[in-house]
Amino acid sequence: MTKTIALHSYKGGTGKTSVSANLAALYASRGHDVCLFDYDFRAPSLQVLFKTKIRNTLNDFLEERCEINDALHDVSEKYQTKGHLYIGFASSSTDSMREMMAKDRKWEMKALHRTLSAKNELCNDGRADFVIFDTSPGVSYSSINALAASDFVILVSKMDEFDMEGTKEIVRGIYQSLGRKTGLLLNRIPTEQFPLGAGQKELEEYMSKLFNLPFLGIIPCYCDIQASGGKYLFAVEQPKHPFSQALSEVIDRMEKLLRTV
């Protein structure tokens, strides 16, 4: 049965897009069929990473100008993944972004139904084992639509106070209200301040207790990933990289949690 996962965060800059793209690629490398959707309509970025010719966008799908299959782009051959890796891109034109900002509640309700029908279609025709949503940070319609359509939420947070206070609030006000199972992933952790190794277990226990959420992992801040500017899909291009290894562990930890959703 298809599992739907949304990656969300309170603030921007937590590395959601990097994590979601690499997570999708890792699942595909392991032989699963995966659909990755860019639901960050305010600042789309998956097209920078995947650099493929885009026929139809998810904006077209939500506006009923095409069906979900027309908005999926198969990049499996390019990355030589064992399973299929399909990407649904958000339109990066400023006109489209402006249009999305001006939508009313009725349109957003329709968007929720289109999102749910896409998920059901992909599930029913067996096209995807995993549907992954990369969302915009904070509380926006597109993000919450994606969260409402998901079985599981990966909450990505950095270790700064602003991020953590807001994160606690969205856990209570949104994820719990929607009844969505959630796991916490700490990303871009500066290892000078939070040395991993012996102290990692204590940090995990502390954070898990603070947010009252199962813990998925800690990913340190890697300078080479920052320097790459989102040009590489590390999970498949450099599978031995510690970032890829850390994400692989996240998948293993999630497996048990996904069995219960």
Partner: protein, 125 residues
């Protein structure tokens, strides 16, 4: 009567009880429909119960917990009976029927009859 002998009898009685509850539920749905029709006839100035309010995620989040769970379950399917929703939420059918009718009264959900069954749906178009 031994323990072994009484088991089939208990199953039969439970099945009979379940049929009776389903019968009562159907009658209650008919009564709710009748009451709404009568309200329309007696107070024609009153707006119809469905006002076409959008059941978007902001509305979903603003609903009380018990109604949100029902509304979310209904949002995930195109249409459903109270029994279908109770199977999704794990709550009893009578409670779901009440919550669905509350959502109809609030104007977020519509309902229609198909034979003996009442189907609830969110009009997304």
């Amino acid at each position: 009567m031994s323990k072994e002998d009484s088991s089939p009898e208990i199953v039969r009685l439970l099945q009979q009880l379940n049929k009776s509850i389903e019968f009562v539920n159907a009658k209650l749905d008919n009564l709710i429909d009748l009451q709404e029709s009568l309200t329309q006839i007696l107070s024609p100035s009153k707006k119809p119960s469905y006002e076409g309010l959008p059941l978007d995620v902001a509305t979903l989040l603003s609903l009380p917990d018990h109604l949100r769970k029902t509304a979310l379950a209904l949002t995930e399917v195109s249409e459903a009976t109270a029994t279908d929703i109770s199977m999704k939420t794990g709550r009893v059918r009578a409670a779901e029927s009440d919550y669905l009718n509350q959502l109809v009264t609030k104007g977020y959900v519509r309902k229609k009859r198909k034979g003996h069954d009442v189907y609830f749906f969110v009009e997304a178009k």
